[in-house]
Amino acid sequence: MLVAGVNPVDGFSALLIGALGNVPETAETLVQTTSLLFPALGIALAFRAGLFNIGAEGQLLIGGLLAGVIGERFIAPGFIAIPLLLLAGAVGGGVWGALAGWLRSRFSANEVIATLMLNYVAIQVAAYAITGPLKSAAGEGNETGELPASSWLPTILPDTRLTIALVLAVALALFLRWMLRSTVAGYQLRAVGDAPRAAQRAGIDLAKMRFWTMTFSGAIAGFGGATIVLGVLHRFNLALSPGYGFIGIAVALVGELDPIWVTVAAFVFGILQNGAIGMQAAADVPRDVVTAIEGLIILVLAGRRIITRSGAD
């Protein structure tokens, strides 16, 4: 901020006021929190199994795509349409995660590279789909037509974009924490992540565990993509994510891969995301400063993680 020629104290207070200064801004911060939390939880789950899922962005996009293209055509009461479309998002992201998981299990492909590359494939697939075979009459350019209002996620604060997606995300975090700590499946997943060779000798099928973990990790991100389509934009847009899947990596790592702390970290990043706009307006700090800060956090944390892993091998 000094570089941008602004007093950092002014800049930060503008950021906080912009993020939490009033009810609409706080709600918008929570919208950002929600959109970050889904991919971050998916990433955290994969990381706990020792899988470096860098592909949440693509998984989220494919999830959103499925929810969007089905959603604009599918007219049904909300209690049918909403669960179905969210499920479609999870399936889309899950398939995208499963692809990487399959490449890893079948060909020992490095999941970092596989998931990263699948991000680009996802963008191209989505762009092709909505301009080509799945283009609807109402859709134009980078987006599909609007979803029928019955398929929108119900808001929990009137006149804001804050929907029940936040509740679902927090519930998911609680579920994942219970799953990892208390269940047999969570125990096996952690064993594969913490000591794969010991897990293998104890009879845990590494390939199977890695495949399903990547699938669920992708499904969570895809579900998140669907909540953006159903709750925030009410349509699919190629630019529906300003990088949630990448920032989600930092969120997961700042939260030490513990779903509860990941939730807290998502809130902090939500403040950054939303407050940046306020900061830009009030203190004239370019929002790129926030992007740069986030980038630095990702770099430092991802670097540390990969270094400690290669050291452990």
Binding site: D194, R197, A198, A199, G203
Partner: protein, 485 residues
């Protein structure tokens, strides 16, 4: 004047006092032994003497260059012998390497010390004994006045050990001061003139080697008597073998087997003798269902295919004690309880619906901790914080808890202290007495002689000989291990 003098050395790692006030002097021409259990502080002390670690208190006075030969070779496998020996000190001609001079230098060193190795051989292609020579040559190249050897014979065959010490004795005669850090008491008795015993960071006893015995040294190391091993009972001979291996071929990254036939009976310990790298890992991994293989492995009356992975073998009553407990058996950051149920987490006794039954897991861990005298006896301790011996007690306890039909024990007492090793060995004999079939793979002949009912020698992936317990012949087995026909 001492070649090296350590005075009042103290070294702490966090709360742990690894070395606690040690005085030690070495003189030129003398071979001195430093013995102690794992974790007694021997290697730390050697590293301080070498200069790799700085002491927190005390002084080190060195009169000459110090060389250190590590237990784990510090060689660049892809490089040639001369490149390794002269790494960082390569002779130059202008800005180019003087390869001819380098070769000549390595040959000359080899001549002088009787350590012949082809200077152009690539290190990864050399057998272990020759790698050890390269390691030693590298240190000797710097003309050390003091040579520290940290567990130098851990991976050598009996014949190789003898020739290694011949070289060391020659070096001593030339005036080099030598410290041998080891837990092999027989080598200390055979080759040193003085012995220092370390326990819990202190030197607790010093002997003139000629005036002591292995039994006395062992007592000093452990700080008490070692309990005798459980007696083996005579069991009726079974008709059907538990494990019947025929024509087994398998490869791993480290070794391979090529046509191995084996039979292991119930109530029998079959020992696999051999130098590391002669197929032990391939045999173990094939039995455990970890690698593809050709040939057959019959378990009781069933032919287990390679497609049947570890899980299928475990549920049939096959258990393994892996070689590398820290990576292959335990999750170090987990508690004793979590580790105790690894491999049994799906069993009905430890689950309540989708959840793990924590109370049942704790109770199970508690029985292992008690039966194997794990210290500290806390089931919520993190396994990483336990000593190697206590970690291994958990592994062996877990394996034997289900009264398995067959146990594959790969180096079950590797790197653990004498007390824990005796306990582990006794428990294995008890399991054998109770009818378990045990395949024991060990690089130590002492362990095989102590435990095995029969022994087969593995050399270059094939069985080189078989001996019944009443026909164990150390010289003959040692020769077969080194490749004699």
């Amino acid at each position: 004047m001492a070649a090296i003098a350590l005075r009042g050395i103290v070294k702490r790692f966090g709360d742990l006092v690894a070395v606690d006030g040690v005085d030690l002097e070495l003189e030129g021409g003398l071979i001195v032994g430093l013995i102690g259990e794992n974790g007694a502080g021997k290697s730390t002390l050697a590293n301080i003497a070498f200069g790799a670690l700085a002491p927190d208190e005390g002084t080190v006075e060195r009169n000459g260059v110090v060389g250190l030969v590590h237990q784990h070779f510090q060689l660049v496998e892809r490089l040639s012998v001369w490149e390794n020996v002269l790494l960082g000190r390569e002779p130059r001609k202008g800005w180019r390497l003087d390869v001819a001079a380098a070769r000549a230098r390595v040959r000359e060193l080899g001549e002088r010390y009787g350590l012949h190795v082809d200077p152009d051989a690539i290190v990864e292609t050399l057998p272990i004994g020759l790698k050890q020579r390269v390691e030693l040559l590298r240190e000797l190249e710097r003309e050390p006045a003091i040579l520290l050897l940290d567990e130098p014979t851990a991976v050598l065959a009996p014949g190789e050990i003898e020739s290694f010490f011949t070289t060391i004795v020659t070096l001593a005669k030339r005036g080099v001061a030598i410290l041998v850090v080891t837990h092999k008491l027989a080598e200390v008795i055979a080759y040193t003139s003085r012995v220092n015993v370390m326990r819990a960071g202190k030197i607790v006893a010093r002997y003139v080697t000629a005036q002591t015995t292995t039994a006395e040294l062992a007592r000093a190391m452990v700080g008490g008597e070692i309990p005798p091993l459980t007696q083996r009972t005579v069991l009726p001979r079974q008709v059907l073998p538990v494990v019947h291996v025929q024509g087994l071929q398998a490869n791993t990254e480290s070794d391979s087997i090529d046509g191995v036939d084996l039979v292991v009976q119930a109530g029998e310990i079959l020992g696999i003798a051999g130098v590391e790298g002669n197929g032990q890992t391939a045999l173990a991994d094939a039995l455990a269902g970890l690698v593809p293989y050709e040939g057959t492995i019959r378990f009781r009356d069933e032919d287990l295919g390679p497609a049947l992975g570890p899980r299928g073998r475990i549920v049939r009553g096959m258990q393994i004690i892996p070689q590398d407990r820290q990576h292959e058996a335990l999750v170090l950051d987990w508690t004793v309880t979590e580790n105790a149920i690894l491999g049994r987490e799906r069993n009905r006794e430890f689950r309540r619906g989708p959840q793990i039954d924590r109370a049942a897991a704790r109770a199970f861990a508690q029985t292992i901790v008690e039966r194997f005298d794990v210290r500290p006896p806390r089931v919520d301790a993190r396994v990483r914080d336990l000593s190697g011996g206590n970690q291994q007690k958990i592994v062996v306890g877990r394996v034997l808890a289900g009264e398995p039909t067959f146990v594959l024990a790969y180096q079950p007492t590797r790197g653990i202290d004498v007390g824990a090793a005796a306990l582990v060995q006794s428990r294995l004999i008890e399991a054998r007495n109770a009818g378990t079939a045990i395949l024991l793979i060990s690089f130590g002949l002492d362990e095989i002689f102590a435990l095995a009912d029969r022994v087969v020698v593995l050399y270059r992936g094939k069985i080189a000989g078989e001996f019944g317990r009443d026909a164990f012949d150390r010289a003959r087995i040692g020769a077969l291990m080194a490749g004699a026909s």
